[in-house]
Symmetry: C4
Subunit: 346 residues, 4 copies
Amino acid sequence: MAMVCLSDFEAYAKKYLPKIAWDYFAAGADDCTTRDENILAYKRIRFRPRMLRDVSVMDIRTKILGSEISFPVGIAPTGFHQLAWPDGEKSTARAARAMNTCYIASTYSTCTLEEISAAAPGGLRWFQLYIHRNRAASQQLVQRAEALGFQGLVLTADLPYTGKRRDDVRNGFRLPPHMKVKNLERAFEVCKMSPSFHSLRWHYGLPPNSLDPSVTWNDIYWLRSLTRLPIIIKGILTREDAELAVRHGVQGIIVSNHGGRQLDEGPATIDALVEVVEAVRGRVEVYVDGGIRKGSDVLKALALGAKCVFIGRPALWGLAYKGEEGLQDVLRILQDEFRLSMALAG
Amino acid sequence: MAMVCLSDFEAYAKKYLPKIAWDYFAAGADDCTTRDENILAYKRIRFRPRMLRDVSVMDIRTKILGSEISFPVGIAPTGFHQLAWPDGEKSTARAARAMNTCYIASTYSTCTLEEISAAAPGGLRWFQLYIHRNRAASQQLVQRAEALGFQGLVLTADLPYTGKRRDDVRNGFRLPPHMKVKNLERAFEVCKMSPSFHSLRWHYGLPPNSLDPSVTWNDIYWLRSLTRLPIIIKGILTREDAELAVRHGVQGIIVSNHGGRQLDEGPATIDALVEVVEAVRGRVEVYVDGGIRKGSDVLKALALGAKCVFIGRPALWGLAYKGEEGLQDVLRILQDEFRLSMALAG
Amino acid sequence: MAMVCLSDFEAYAKKYLPKIAWDYFAAGADDCTTRDENILAYKRIRFRPRMLRDVSVMDIRTKILGSEISFPVGIAPTGFHQLAWPDGEKSTARAARAMNTCYIASTYSTCTLEEISAAAPGGLRWFQLYIHRNRAASQQLVQRAEALGFQGLVLTADLPYTGKRRDDVRNGFRLPPHMKVKNLERAFEVCKMSPSFHSLRWHYGLPPNSLDPSVTWNDIYWLRSLTRLPIIIKGILTREDAELAVRHGVQGIIVSNHGGRQLDEGPATIDALVEVVEAVRGRVEVYVDGGIRKGSDVLKALALGAKCVFIGRPALWGLAYKGEEGLQDVLRILQDEFRLSMALAG
Amino acid sequence: MAMVCLSDFEAYAKKYLPKIAWDYFAAGADDCTTRDENILAYKRIRFRPRMLRDVSVMDIRTKILGSEISFPVGIAPTGFHQLAWPDGEKSTARAARAMNTCYIASTYSTCTLEEISAAAPGGLRWFQLYIHRNRAASQQLVQRAEALGFQGLVLTADLPYTGKRRDDVRNGFRLPPHMKVKNLERAFEVCKMSPSFHSLRWHYGLPPNSLDPSVTWNDIYWLRSLTRLPIIIKGILTREDAELAVRHGVQGIIVSNHGGRQLDEGPATIDALVEVVEAVRGRVEVYVDGGIRKGSDVLKALALGAKCVFIGRPALWGLAYKGEEGLQDVLRILQDEFRLSMALAG
């Protein structure tokens, strides 16, 4: 089977991954409306192609927070890469470095930050953080990441509680016994069990309710006190929150709805991008994730003000196909399509 | 089979209820456009989720006409609960009390008001009234309800005649012989048979045309003279009627299109809610029913000005699943989803 | 099988009519877009239902050009009723009289005007006219109709040539040998064969191109000179043509697109009705046909300014079901649904 | 099987062409959104039909750049006609001449310009040009075309690189060995291989990257210096480029998105036509291709300002059906439908 576009990787992953893993990666909250809207919204945006421009030479490199990447597509933070490929996040790190782009490693990795670093020394990486009730655990993570050379800290703002993903509940999704949320091992001995929502008991091998739902904007100051890394906030969807983010001193904003896995029936990210970019007025860099399936989607996001996009599920499909090599294929296809779209749009 | 969301209960009911009962509960008028629009209209409404607010503690209790309920979802009046579960409305009453919410018992119950009261003493209940040509029968019902401790009188305004529900006509729907519209037994000896519409002869074991199609706003004054209960009017869909309702002294308005079972191709209730809330300007409480399928729907209705929502068919699905227990499951899922939506929407 | 709504008659006709006859009745021009739009456009119109009005007594009679009919639904002119039922237009005339409504007999009837008249003496009937190249034939028809007591002359304006109905071309549609366009027998001996469109050769047993494509507004004056009958023009879709119709002295306008059988991708009739009514400003009566499938459609058309609607295909389905009796069933269902819609809409 | 409308020819071609050839002709870029939009956009445009005009005589001839054609539909440039019919472009030339219309021969013909000319002497033909890196090859082509009596030079502006047509990549599409891009044989010995896009290696038997992506508006002047033929630019979709085209002295503009084969998710051509016509203000002739499937589409394009339309895929379907004769059938059906639409629209 020829792998011609990202949908081919999706079809492959759906066919070959264990159902429970596929369902977990594919899941959206509730009716999956927002998950699907992320994609549909791109299709509603139309180009106005211009002709007869010299497109024989195109430079598609860009810089994010001062670091150059080979083209404006990075790897969004997603959890549990070992569900897709035995080497897990180590393969992801290698593929990102090979393609000279940025990889945002998730708190919920199945490899430790140390393993990820060692797998691809010198690669550009940011670390994605959830703030736990056990603040000491979070602090330790941030400091480990900084010490390991991660160059940005991505705070996920849209997960005070985990969204309701019906298939995960039906499947009773949990990590298989041989996989672990390795970065958090031994961090939660002191964490008391809190009563969880009646019908929403799933927690991926973590203590239930270990995330702290009382996090507010002031906790940005706390994070700032822990690290010299630039702080990027992920999960902003409104101009009001974009303004708050800038005022609280973040260096970057990722417009994101967590792949449609948290609150269903909010805006598509590409639609939200427009108002966020407008509110930010260039004061910090703005990125977007969710719904990127073609190189022309990248071009649309950039045309609407994003500095760079991040891909979530497509990266996992690439891993599921052939690990490091499969993810490189995905990135390379996006790169080719992006360059071609630029040329054809003039 | 895991019961994860309300659609699971719907699928269960469709599978296990006798076809004629399922069809009766599911029926919409004519092409079922309005029935389906009630649901689709919710999906067109988008959240603007806000981040980094402290959502560790949320109070979801509310008060309707002064009575506290555990969360803003009550049971709308629907008929013939014994079609769904042998204990009928007695189970409904117990589940509502267990979940500490309000149950609006229908005139067309298959248990008497006395049986309903006795099944769950102390529960918050309103009584739904149709005005019959035999006014004495209606008066008697109101006074029985008040004497039994019902705390509100809900006048249904949208049923001068029964809507045309094609499947019921095809099925020749009637109550099975062992079920009765018990509240009205012996009330109609004196009611003369009137000529009915040629193609619309169905009457559920009641004399045809026993409902009074000449009821007008002035009959609110007549009702007022019969009882000290607050009067809530159900079936309002326009600002003009909302204004009339307030002027005629009702205490509450339920925006409703009878689940799409009366006039087809009117507005979805969540759309009508907006203009009713605007017209009412806080002078009386406004509620809405129709199309609630997820906790986030409840949040949308509240955000648009409803004080509380009522569920019709989902309550019947819960009954059909496991009687009192099944209805509690439905309410609990809605409660959890509602709380989660509030947290994720900030 | 219970006949509950008009779609049931459609399903019956589709199942039991010969394919070639069904295709002929069902046909729309080209892609059938306008044929289907006629129906879809009704569904886009929403009621604003009002409550608590005394709807115990409703008078649904109306007058068209001074003649009372039992409710505002007449029979639109359609051809070849013997394809649907052996007695053809005689059954149609009887059913219309039985229901006390108006029947517009088509030039392309398979019974003579004399047979139609004799079948239901005293019924309210109008005669629909195509103007042929052989003007003497048309003149003769008008004068026969007037002499037979027809009370209106309906000039079809939208058929200078027959629209392209693909299935008719594929089927090589022609009247079976035992049926004839009886009103025109012997009228065309003198009519020369003209060259027809290459790919559009079908003519229903008439000489090809016997219709006159050079008819203009001035021919209304010619018609006026032939008869004292009121002239109703059928096929108007724009305000400009509505103004011309009034200025040329017609007594009525039927907003029609010939059931979507002529120019495809023009407006739905219910949409066109609005601008025609606005342009006419009450100077003549305005009617509409096309897309009426439920009593609530009739109510919508009246609410938008039509004095009466006419049904085409549904009448044929009724005939196909049980001749005169089947057509009465169709009319009675529409009548009941119309009355119920009025009651429920307040 | 009766060939009644263009879709019949499409169905025939899909059934009888080798899959790889069908796929090549049918292909759109990426998700084929623009390819399909070209058609859907026509369906969104509605006529306002006028009645009672004398439509007995209609003149459908027109002139393009001074040459009369029998009706405003020409043959757009498409490649590789031998894939559809053994005689290839020779049949196309003969059919166009027989129908007295214009045929734009493609650079990528499988017959030489000389063969095309000899097949149908005296026919009205334009020559479509891609500019190659090897400018001498392009110059030679232009001069051969002029010498052979071609009367217009059509410069394609939207193909600096070939769009990504997934099926062609999957199929590894190449011309079969016995077919050649004959006009370019021996032109490319000196052309160096340039690195091509990783995942986009297909080149139809030409050296990869032989097209020159550095072409700009100034190259119009270069073309002008080579020939006295009028220059028509093909691929314009915006008012800005239309203005540039006029300023650079072209004689005509073909609004085109290359049948949706280049940049996906740009505008439908009939939508772009409106803004181009507005910008051009009559200074040069404007044509349109893409999505024409019925005679009424031609009428819409003309009503929106096009002087003439060109058909691409439908011409290939006609060839695939019966070569020269099949293409004439296609043109004749369009002609009949166009004339009928004009009559019915008044």
